[in-house]
């Protein structure tokens, strides 16, 4: 083996350093800015302070107390309600998604009746047909003026489900092969850009009076992260040999007993990592919370956005301080479940 030329090694480490710098510098800037007094974090004086000259906790104080300054600020309250809100809706959404997602994943892993791969033209064609069928009804509902009310939305949703079933049946008459895949449909939920679905959701939620409630946000977070839970947990369940559930059933457990006493304990590593992943998604969401909350339940990202005062514009120092606080829960959660993130829990279960 020949030794690489020195310049190649140097170049390689230089590139690594640049990339590492690009990734860590924003974090460094946030951490230091959180401890800088206003003169240092604002650019009013035209000087840049790379390290805090006079470290202070005043940014934390600003953010954690009600605003009493003489200048106008977009949001007068302290960050504490938004922290409480973030914690409640993120954990709630995560639990909701885990509850329905894990059960769905187990069902798809063990009892799925879908066979074969769904061709893309069937998957997309079915969706296009559905939209085509529903469009005239949407116009009709709008003309009747009921689309903005809960009964209009509910009836339209039921109509959509019925139309989808009908299209599936009709397709099955003329096409031999799979005409639908539940697992794929669940994944399809994630294929729309969030911006495309969040506005209709906002209209629906306002009709259902769910705007600016914690349970309204929990429901949306649960549904939006549900596909991730299903697909991640399905892969974990697929790795657990089916004989284990069957052995439990033969040994006298019910189907639910086999799931809760044998399968789920084996998948707890997967469950923990899925929970962390989903929690981070919910915790860092801005768009949904921005549109679905107003006064009572804004989350941390929404609150951050409102840290703007007429005195100086965006309050970068307090923003950095709150950002630093917001990093803590995911990191603590990650450290707590670290030992579950190790794979290979099923090792030794089965002789291959």
């Amino acid at each position: 083996m020949t030794r690489r030329p020195t310049w190649q090694i140097v170049l390689r480490y230089a590139l690594v350093l640049i990339v590492v710098g690009l990734f860590t510098f924003p974090t460094y800037w946030m951490v230091t800015m959180a401890f800088k007094p206003k003169v240092e974090w604002s650019t009013a004086h035209g000087t840049i302070y790379w390290v805090p000259q006079n470290p202070t906790l005043e940014n934390f104080e600003t953010v954690l107390t009600e605003y009493r300054g003489k200048f106008f600020r977009a949001n007068q309250s302290s960050a504490l309600p938004s922290i409480r809100s973030s914690i409640i809706v993120s954990i709630g959404g995560t639990l909701f998604a885990l509850l329905i997602g894990t059960l769905a994943a187990y069902g798809l892993s063990r009892f799925s009746v879908d066979t074969g791969d769904l061709p893309w033209y069937i998957a997309l064609g079915r969706l296009a047909l559905l939209i085509l069928v529903l469009l005239p009804f949407m116009v009709l509902w709008a003309w009747l003026g009921i689309i903005r009310y809960w009964y209009g939305i509910l009836s339209f949703t039921l109509l959509g489900i019925g139309a989808d079933q009908l299209i599936g049946r009709l397709l099955a008459l003329y096409y031999r092969g799979p005409t639908g895949s539940l697992a794929f449909s669940i994944l399809q939920l994630r294929m729309f850009p969030p911006m495309a679905i969040v506005i209709p959701v906002m209209i629906m939620w306002s009709a259902f009076k769910l705007i600016d409630t914690w349970y309204g946000l929990v429901a949306v977070y649960g549904v939006v992260t549900f596909p991730f839970v299903v697909w991640l947990m399905k892969s974990f369940f697929d790795e657990i040999p089916r004989e284990l559930d069957e052995a439990a059933i033969v040994d006298g457990a019910s189907n639910w007993g086999a799931f809760f006493k044998v399968v789920l304990p084996l998948a707890k590593g997967g469950l923990a990592s899925t929970a962390l992943f989903v929690f981070i998604l919910n915790w860092s969401d801005f768009l949904i919370a921005l549109l679905l909350t107003t006064r009572d339940w804004p989350t941390i990202p929404v609150f951050l956005n409102s840290l703007v005062s007429s005195e100086i514009g965006a309050q970068h120092g307090p923003k950095a301080a709150l950002g630093l606080l917001a990093v803590i829960p995911p990191v603590v959660f990650g450290i707590l479940i670290q030992r579950y993130l190790v794979r290979g829990l099923t090792f030794g279960a089965i002789k291959r």
Partner: protein
Amino acid sequence: MANIRLENVSKRFGRVTALQSVNLEIHHGEFFCVLGPPGAGKTTLLRLIVGLEKPDEGTIYIDGDPVNDVHPRDRDIAMIFQNLALYPDKTVFDNIAFPLRERKMAAEEIRARVAQVARMLHIEHLLERKPGKLSGGERQRVAIARALVRTPRAYLMDEPLANLDALLRLEMRIELKRLQEQLNETLVYVTSDQVEAMSMADRIAVLYKGVVQQCDTPDNVYNLPANRRVATIVGSPPMNFLTCQVQRMDGQLHLVHSGFGFQVVGSDHPLWDCLCRALPAVREVLVGVRPEDIRLYPERPTEVIAFPARVAVSEPLGAETIVDVQLGRDIIKVITPPTQYFAEKQEVWVAFDMAKVHVMDAQTGERIYTTGAPEQLQCILPGTCA
């Protein structure tokens, strides 16, 4: 305590037929083996009995009650899976205790029963360990313990020894046999190893492509195989088959092979009857002879009629030597004592034990007749017949 009866049971998976109208009756206290090559439907049979699959047709009875719609947990039958399916995150104690806990037994009694079973199988010292830390044989015992502890109505085992090394398999075979005699419970044992089936079973069902070919005692399965399949599956190396033409001339009945021939002696012979009745349709038969019922002579023997042949390959196994011999157009396998040595291409003389010759229909493979005494069928040299 259980009689298990399968009546006309069929099971299909999509277009694949796993089992085809299976009729079996397994008696109480019987060591019942299901023998067959991989893919014969053996595991499906067990899964149907335990209730993990539902039959498409037919009925399964346990002690006379139809159980088609009974949930596995209520059938009270223990099953040992091929991969054992021990719960990897539970200790050995918890593994064995699992069925008892599912039955809501008192903790005190669970401890007592687990201890008793552990003592019986010599795994008391392993109770605190997890399955991952056990050797293959120890895991095997834990799986058996988990089945034993609940005292079920019957035990089902799916190739339990397939994953063990040869020496351990020998040991466990004896132990299982002894255990079954001790328990005197119904045991359905699935295996693809004919030695296991022959050595342990009270009765064997030979399964091939989802069809029960024969269900009988090991003795009968070996000595009176129902058809060509059974003769191939039971016995190692498998039975040799020689395709013979049936010829009738001058009031004689001949079975003519490219290397030799047989003459059926006496027209009152049952074989004569069978062949004559079938003659216009059946022009060909298979003459089956087991490798252990053939002898090789380096020189032409005088006391028996032998046919000239040529050695193709010789495989010394220590206790015996398997010699492949080219006889006419067919190659037959012969088991010879290791004291005899045959070189490749050597000229030898082949003699059959005429008391153990099977005649089978070449088309269907069904056994037509098996000779019981040497004088019923006589060897003749190729030259002496047409």
